[in-house]
Amino acid sequence: MRATYPAWQGKPGPGLRLAKAVALVVIVLLVLFPLWTVVATSLASPQDVIANGGWVVWPERFTLGAYAEILDGGVVTRALLVSGGVTVIGTALSLVCTVGLAYALSRPHVYGGRPMLLLILFTFLFPPGMIPLFLVVRTTGLFDSYAALVLPFLINVFNLIVLRGFFQSIPAELLEAARIDGAGELTTLWRIVLPLSKAVLAVVSLFYAVAYWNRFFEAIIYFNDQTKWPIGTVLRQYVTGGADLSGDSTVTSAPQSTQMAVVVLAVAPIVCIYPLLQRYFVKGVLTGAVKA
């Protein structure tokens, strides 16, 4: 595509344009190349990987052996199911609770609305510490329960404020009209407010889903039972922690391929939903960040 520069700007000199092009290519490669070699290594045959010293940029013989092994019902398969379940259920719960609270707080004069808003904003200033939160999880009996990966992170204050701000921006006349037509609060929320908020709801869902999928640390302190670990925690153990995955099953592929296949599977869902939601998220971030 031919770029058109504004008349006053004129076309930049060839040196400057070349420098910009080089900078852009380098930046894109810095992000994409590591991901590429991870995928390539996970798909390469054991001979290729071993011959090249543990990694491959361009696999000559493809094999899905590494994936077949880790998806064979072992630790990784289980962890993927745990993460998937926690992500789906967690995102749904978070969305319902955040929408409920944001909607109530967006209505003027709701009973207790202002003190509640101040209480919530204060948590922004003073987030719960790791040890006190641990004590709460322990006291509420969430230990070794998947709920420990969901309930302590049910509502994100940033997402709440974004949603509330968006709900407030919906013209009051619309809600008034619904009320005159006899709609109760829930009907108004369901039939008027939520359909208007699809874009911002998509962004908030994405943020929640990514956060649930990526959560790994909490499983280390809240779970004694390692079979309940989500994929991030398993990834830490076997890839960054250097533990051996081969205790799990009879491994025939190169250990590097297996490790990188775990990385790929942990990244894949994010990369898959990313393009779908991308057109929304910039808007969502800015609603929250530069709201004057």
Binding site: N52, A104, F126, I131, V136, L186, T240, V282, L286
Partner: protein, 323 residues
């Protein structure tokens, strides 16, 4: 960084509804009962997991024995804090945190601004969109993945060292090297968050008035002078605000990134305040002491945010909250 507006009913509205007819508590609860039910789960969440945890900070003042529980553990007053002030490992964590935060401020803070200027200067929307999609992506990857990728690329048997070997050069020793640890963690942060952080700068850049560029160009200003005299002054409020917010959360260098890599380089180089709390509490079992260190950091954090906002307001900018 959310600016939250305070919604007070406008003057006319308040005059229209005379005080005497303001419904009483009971009637208001009855009137809002549906909304109250809808917000209840969220309210409960904040009460239990935020305010419960806030109360849990009393741990800092007891000698907590998990077996006994909080109620039966001995009250020790400020002993945990005294221990903390005399603990060289704690001060080592403080020093590392401040050093890393300083490096982040110097190297991470300007990076997204530079990238945003580069992206903003692109006229072709296809290229711009593509680059944006690529650089936003790492923000959504977890620290486990980022650390795994860095090990894969820069580790002893990693891709870069493979190339160095082929070129007949010596191997670089970055991963697990205490001396290289601080630059490494800042590089990781830039790789992960630089693209995402451009969003707010790009929004600010698109607000700069085109007529100013035109006028400057007519007066003979080249791209450098336009950048210096038009662009940067145009987005100065955003830069100042972000800088102040960053100073407000100076001690928040991140936890997961450091938790994952601290073992590889040892506590002397790798311990930050958050990992200090973790290892004191969970590895050594000194929960009361760990809670004290956590509370100390939290209180300093509140003071910093408060001060940063005071400064922001004094400079005529808007902070996290309004005056």
């Amino acid at each position: 960084m959310c600016a939250v507006e305070s919604r007070r009913p406008s003057r006319e509205l308040r005059q229209k509804v005379p005080r005497a007819r303001e419904p009483g508590h009971r009637r208001r609860i009855r009137r809002d009962r549906v909304l109250l039910v809808v917000m209840a789960p969220g309210v409960l969440y904040f009460l239990i997991f935020h305010y419960g945890a806030l109360f849990g900070n009393v741990l800092a003042f007891v000698d907590y024995v998990p077996f006994l529980g909080l109620a039966d553990s001995a009250w020790v007053g400020l002993v945990n804090f005294e221990q903390m002030l005399g603990d060289p490992q704690f001060w080592n964590a403080v020093a590392n945190t401040i050093l890393i935060a300083g490096l982040q401020l110097v190297f991470f803070f300007p990076a997204p601004l530079a990238l945003a200027l580069l992206l903003h200067s692109l006229v072709g929307t296809t290229v711009k969109r593509f680059v944006q999609s690529v650089v936003y992506l790492p923000h959504f990857l977890s620290w486990v993945i980022v650390v795994a990728l860095f090990q894969h690329m820069l580790g002893g048997a990693g891709v870069v060292n493979g190339w160095m070997g082929e070129l007949g050069l010596g191997a670089i020793h970055v991963i697990g090297n205490p001396d290289a640890y601080k630059p490494l963690v800042v590089a990781q942060l830039i790789w992960k968050e630089c693209g995402w952080a451009t969003i707010i700068f790009l929004a600010a850049l698109s607000q700069v008035d085109d007529q100013q560029y035109e006028a400057a160009a007519l007066d003979g200003a080249g791209w450098w002078r336009r950048l210096w005299h038009v662009t940067l002054p145009g987005i100065r409020p955003v830069i100042v605000l972000l800088l102040i917010l960053r100073l407000g959360e100076f001690l928040e260098v991140g936890f997961e990134q450091f938790f994952l890599q601290r073992q590889a380089v040892g506590p002397e180089a790798g311990e930050v305040l958050d990992t200090f709390v973790y290892f004191t509490g969970f590895a050594n079992g000194e929960f009361g002491y760990a809670a004290a260190a956590g509370l100390f950091k939290g209180l300093i954090g509140v003071a910093l945010v408060y001060t940063a906002n005071r400064v922001a307001h004094r400079l005529g900018e808007q902070g996290v909250y309004r005056r």
